[in-house]
Structures are given as structure tokens and as C-alpha cells.
């Protein structure tokens, strides 16, 4: 296992405001995630799992404390800079896939590449490679409505990896899937972690899904209450 720190959270607080009330969601959180780790975040609803994921993915900002990802303190970035940072460093996998219904599988996967300066031919190569990795090379012309839930999620994973990001964040990636499809998606995430050394953060309620991760964090009321590491699951350093 590589011991290089990939993600570091130092004394992170996150509060939301509702009228005059402050609602604390995360309190004094310290966390280090190594490069190439597959981390599962578990906990009851409202425990702060998705908020933590959003902070690390650069979608949200901490109220206090530092969030450092791959050496970059996200607090130092402006709105425009953090948007660009996300485009290059983070791949998103959502519970409801969030594919654009009017775009084909190919076009959905190509979407993040439109923010790069790659040529059309290079974009096509990258998209086809990503679709091949998720096993949907023959579905490039299909629209989301023409795909099953599992296939939609695989297209979403292809979209997440097509820019070869440093970090993959998955919010309940199997939450909307049947057991078989969920198993296939988890296999795919494991493959991405072990073969392609992607650092993966996955929020899940499903203990079976969490078992596929190399490390499982339990949150409750905005604090880390448990941290289990399964050494056997951690990939060898490349």
C-alpha cells in the first residue's frame, strides 16, 4: 500500500445556516486517505457522509479547517479555479447516474472531455477506451432510456474515468440497482482501484458494498466513530 497522503482533512467543520440557526454537520474532522485507497463512508442518514464527500470533491467548502487533495488546499481556490480543478481531478458517480437524457452513451462520456483541448479524434479514442473498460463499447449510440440501470451506471463510470482523474467519488453508486447489477458495478470499482490505481471514495448504506472497499469509515453526528482497514484489499503501489 502506498503511504503517500492523497487526501488530508485537518480540523474540518461544516455548518449550514437555516435562518438564524447554525446546523453543524461535520465537527473537527481529521482524516488522511492514502493514494490508491478505496474508501467506503458509512453511517446513518444525516451523519455527514455526503457532505464529507462533497468537501473532498470540491463541490462544497468547509466552514473551518483545511481540505487538501493531492497537495492542493481547496480553500485557496476561487469558484472558477475549483470548477477547473474538479474537471481535471475528480470523476463523479451518482446514485441516480445523472446521465444527460438527450445525449447518447458516447456523448455523455465525451462531455467532460469537451473541457479539454483534445482533438476530436483523441476524444473519440478516449471515450471508446472508457466504454471498453466498462464493457459497453457496443452501446455507444444508445440513449440512457435505451439502457438498463446497471448499464446507465456503467456509462456514468465511463464518464467519470474518461479524463483519467486522480480521484473517483461515488455517492451510493449501487443504491438504485438490483443485487446483480450492484455486484457488477462494485466489481468495476474494484477493478478501477486495483488495476488503474484510482483513489475511490464511496458513500454507501450497504454493508456488502462497503466490504469491497479497502477501508471503511463510519460517521455519526458529523464525527468519525470507526475506521476499519482491510489490508488485503489495498492495491500494491505501482
Amino acid at each position: 500500500m502506498s503511504q503517500t497522503a492523497s487526501i488530508e482533512l485537518q480540523g474540518v467543520d461544516k455548518e449550514y445556516r437555516r435562518d438564524d440557526f447554525k446546523i453543524p454537520v461535520l465537527t473537527g474532522l481529521d482524516l488522511t486517505v492514502a493514494e490508491g485507497e478505496f474508501l467506503a463512508l458509512m453511517g446513518p442518514s444525516g451523519s455527514g457522509k455526503t457532505t464529507l464527500l462533497n468537501l473532498i470533491a470540491g463541490l462544497d467548502r468547509s466552514t473551518r479547517g483545511k481540505v487538501i487533495v493531492h497537495g492542493q488546499d481547496l480553500g485557496d481556490l476561487s469558484e472558477a479555479e475549483i470548477t477547473r480543478w474538479r474537471a481535471h481531478n475528480v470523476g463523479f458517480i451518482f446514485q441516480t447516474y445523472n446521465l444527460i437524457p438527450v445525449l447518447t452513451a458516447f456523448e455523455n462520456v465525451e462531455l467532460p472531455l469537451l473541457l479539454t483541448s483534445l482533438s476530436k479524434r483523441k476524444r473519440r479514442d478516449n471515450v471508446m477506451t472508457a466504454l471498453k473498460v466498462v464493457g459497453l463499447k457496443d452501446r455507444e449510440h444508445h440513449y440512457p432510456r435505451q439502457l438498463s440501470g446497471g448499464q446507465e451506471q456503467r456509462v456514468a463510470i465511463a464518464r467519470a474515468i474518461v479524463t483519467d482523474p486522480y480521484l473517483l467519488v461515488a455517492d451510493e453508486p449501487t443504491g438504485d440497482l438490483d443485487r446483480t447489477s450492484a455486484g457488477e458495478i462494485l466489481d468495476l470499482l474494484e477493478q478501477l482501484n486495483q488495476e488503474f490505481q484510482k483513489t475511490i471514495l464511496m458513500v454507501t448504506h450497504d454493508p456488502l458494498a462497503a466490504e469491497r472497499a479497502s477501508r471503511t469509515l463510519h460517521l455519526d453526528k458529523g464525527q468519525l466513530v470507526d475506521d476499519k482497514v482491510r489490508e488485503a484489499r489495498v492495491p500494491a503501489a505501482s
Partner: protein, 387 residues
């Protein structure tokens, strides 16, 4: 940038609202185009009526031919002035003309004023592209007349063989239909100068003299002679300037048209905005997803503005296309100077096209701006949670 096909396909997916907005926009563009097409038709008609070397001589101080009558002897003197252009047979291209504006009955039974112009042979040369298109020219002294094609469609008895009767003494048998290059003459009935003088009891006076100078130097000299002669007490007006000063109807139509177009454009902007607000609302999660993937606020703004512009462009194009079949449209209105019937033919020109483009852009940009700003301001995390 968000690919344009994203917007185009979304418009296709919600084709019902797209169609409604496109049709609404098209209707606005179409109606404004018609209005401005008529303004342009009127402007063209007055512009076509004026020739650069032509002078129109009226009584000093009068604003138009109808109020500018003067002694026929003076008119004869003017016809013999040096510097007037000559026709093939060496005759001066200059004509005495007299105007009468009686009330006539339209084919639908209503009544309005109509211009009867008593003309001389040279009058035909002084109008652009004067042509008898049906029947024949009138013969002097026989109580005959020719009618412009536009008026022949409007007035009772104005077709070939018909009888135009005004009061007890004045009547003319229609023997021909003419066109005159879209000029003001296309709103007139022409008869022989002497016939009209006699019928109206105006022997010895003329309404105006129209003449063509042989050269620019002659034009200046003729103008100087006529304006400067204290005996004449007449004024030689350059035809182009004269007809421009007669365009009060055009100014009114233009002002009314602009006001109506502005109001309609505002209405269409709200329609476009409504459609785009609905689009933003129904695609909140898609917007959140694209923002999460790294598309900037500017990308989203441009994307939704483009969609609004496409929507309005489709409407604008449809509106303009629907205008084209109306190029043969001619409407009747009143000349604000003579209160006589005036026909205006629709003209599809730069003013119409410019109006359509400006309206389309305004509707697209302002109709799409606020929804696009709403899309840009969406909180990414909340947008992603939207179902």
C-alpha cells in the same frame, strides 16, 4: 462549452412547448414585418416618384399640389423656359397638371376621396416606368380616363369599360389600366388635362407644372429662374425633396409600427422567458451534473442563452418566411396631405429584414437572459439532489 446538440435535442424533446414558443415568436415577427413592409412600401413609392432632374412647380408657400394652384398663363411661360429636357421628337418634357379630389365609391359601398389628375402627354415621361398594362390610353376630349391597377381593384366602376362619376358634371369612361413603377401615381386616376379643367370649372388655372431639366446646371438655372421671378411668385421644388416632405403618413406608420413592434417584442420576450424558465426548472439536476463535471457558470449561461436564441431564431425565420407570400399585398390608406385614397404595396427589404433580426435577437437574448442567470446561480449540491 456545452455542446449545442444538447440544446437542440432538448428543444426537440419538449417539442410541444418549443412549437408554441416558435409560433408565438413567428407571429410577432410576422405582424411586425408586415407593418414595416408597408412603411417601406410607402417610402419606396414616394422615393420612386422623385427623379433627380425633375422639378415640381407650385405656388410659393404651398406645401403640396393640391393647395398650390396658379395661373395657366404662368404655367405656359414655364413650359417654354430654356434648359428643359426634350423628348425624341424635340418636345419639352414638361407638363401642366391639374388635380381634383372628389369623393368616390369603393366596390364595397363605402366612400373616400380619390385623386383625379389632369395630365398632358409629357406627364407619362415624368413618371418612372409608366405603362398601360390593360386596355389603351385615353383620348383627349372624349371624357376618357385611365386608372392605376391598384385603384381599379378598389373603386366601383374603375375597371375597363366602367364609368367613374363624381357629382353631376364630372364623369370619365375607363379605357385603360396603368402602372407607374410603384410611384405615387399608382394611387391616381388620370384624364386629359383640358377635360379635367373643363369638368371642374377650373379653366385658366393649374395645380402644378412638372418638368425635367436637361442637365444639373439647367436644373439649378431653372430653379433659380422660377424661384427668383417676382412675377411668377412660384416655387420650383426638387421632386425628391418634395415627395420626402409628403411622407407624413410614412412617419406616422413608422412610429405606430415601432411602438407595436416594441410591445409585441416585450410580449414575446416573456413567452420565451417562460419557456426557458420551465426548461431550467426541469433540467436542474442536469445543470448540477454539468457544473459538477467542471462546466463553468459561463458555459451554462452561454448554453441556455443559445437555446433561447435558437428558439427565437426558429420563430423569426418562420415569421419572415410567412411574410414572403405577402409581397404582392397592397393596402389602401389615406394620404394625410390630400386625404385621398392611397395604396401601399408591401415591400420586403432591409428595413423588414433588419426589424426581424433585431426583434429575434432581443427576444432571444432578453427572453433567455433571466432563466440563464437562474441556471447559473443554482447551488450545485442542491441542483444534484433535484429529482
Amino acid at each position: 462549452m456545452v455542446p449545442l446538440k444538447y440544446n437542440v435535442r432538448n428543444l426537440r424533446v419538449r417539442w410541444k412547448t418549443t412549437m408554441m414558443t416558435v409560433l408565438g415568436t413567428a407571429l410577432v415577427v410576422w405582424s411586425s414585418c408586415i407593418l414595416f413592409g408597408l412603411v417601406q412600401g410607402l417610402e419606396y413609392s414616394l422615393k420612386a416618384s422623385g427623379e433627380p432632374f425633375d422639378l415640381i412647380v407650385v405656388r410659393k408657400g404651398s406645401s403640396n399640389e393640391n393647395t398650390g394652384g396658379f395661373d395657366a398663363v404662368k404655367a405656359d411661360d414655364i413650359l417654354n423656359l430654356p434648359g428643359i429636357a426634350r423628348d425624341d421628337q424635340g418636345r419639352p418634357i414638361a407638363a401642366k397638371e391639374t388635380l381634383n379630389i372628389p369623393v368616390a365609391e369603393r366596390a364595397n359601398g363605402t366612400r373616400t376621396n380619390v385623386i383625379i389628375r389632369g395630365v398632358q402627354p409629357a406627364s407619362r415621361l415624368l413618371r418612372p416606368d409608366f405603362k398601360i398594362v390593360e386596355g389603351q390610353d385615353f383620348q383627349p376630349g372624349k371624357g376618357e380616363c385611365i386608372v392605376s391597377r391598384n385603384l381599379s381593384r378598389i373603386f366601383k366602376g374603375a375597371q375597363i369599360g366602367g364609368l367613374l362619376q363624381f357629382g353631376e358634371k364630372e364623369q370619365y369612361r375607363v379605357v385603360g389600366i396603368f402602372t407607374a413603377g410603384g410611384s405615387a401615381a399608382e394611387s391616381e386616376v388620370w384624364a386629359d388635362f383640358t377635360d379635367v379643367q373643363r369638368n371642374t370649372g377650373r379653366t385658366g388655372t393649374v395645380s402644378c407644372v412638372q418638368l425635367r431639366a436637361a442637365s444639373p446646371q439647367d436644373l439649378d438655372a431653372l430653379k433659380k429662374t422660377i424661384d427668383g421671378d417676382t412675377q411668377f411668385r412660384l416655387e420650383a421644388k426638387n421632386e425628391i425633396e418634395y415627395y420626402a416632405s409628403q411622407n407624413t403618413s410614412g412617419a406616422f406608420l413608422k412610429a405606430a409600427g415601432t411602438l407595436i413592434a416594441v410591445l409585441l417584442t416585450f410580449g414575446a420576450m416573456f413567452a420565451a422567458a417562460n419557456t426557458m424558465f420551465a426548461a431550467v426548472k426541469s433540467r436542474t439536476r442536469e445543470i448540477g451534473t454539468m457544473r459538477a463535471l467542471g462546466f463553468s457558470q459561463f458555459d451554462i449561461l452561454v448554453s441556455f442563452l443559445s437555446e433561447s436564441l435558437i428558439l427565437c431564431f426558429l420563430g423569426g425565420a418562420l415569421g419572415v418566411l410567412a411574410t414572403l407570400p405577402l409581397s404582392a399585398l397592397t393596402i389602401e390608406t389615406s394620404n394625410f396631405n390630400t386625404f385621398a385614397a392611397m395604396t401601399i404595396s408591401f415591400r420586403f427589404g432591409p428595413l423588414v429584414l433588419g426589424t426581424a433580426i433585431i426583434m429575434t435577437l432581443l427576444m432571444g437574448v432578453f427572453g433567455g437572459m433571466f432563466p440563464a442567470i437562474r441556471a447559473v446561480r443554482l447551488d450545485v449540491i442542491r441542483a444534484l439532489r433535484e429529482l
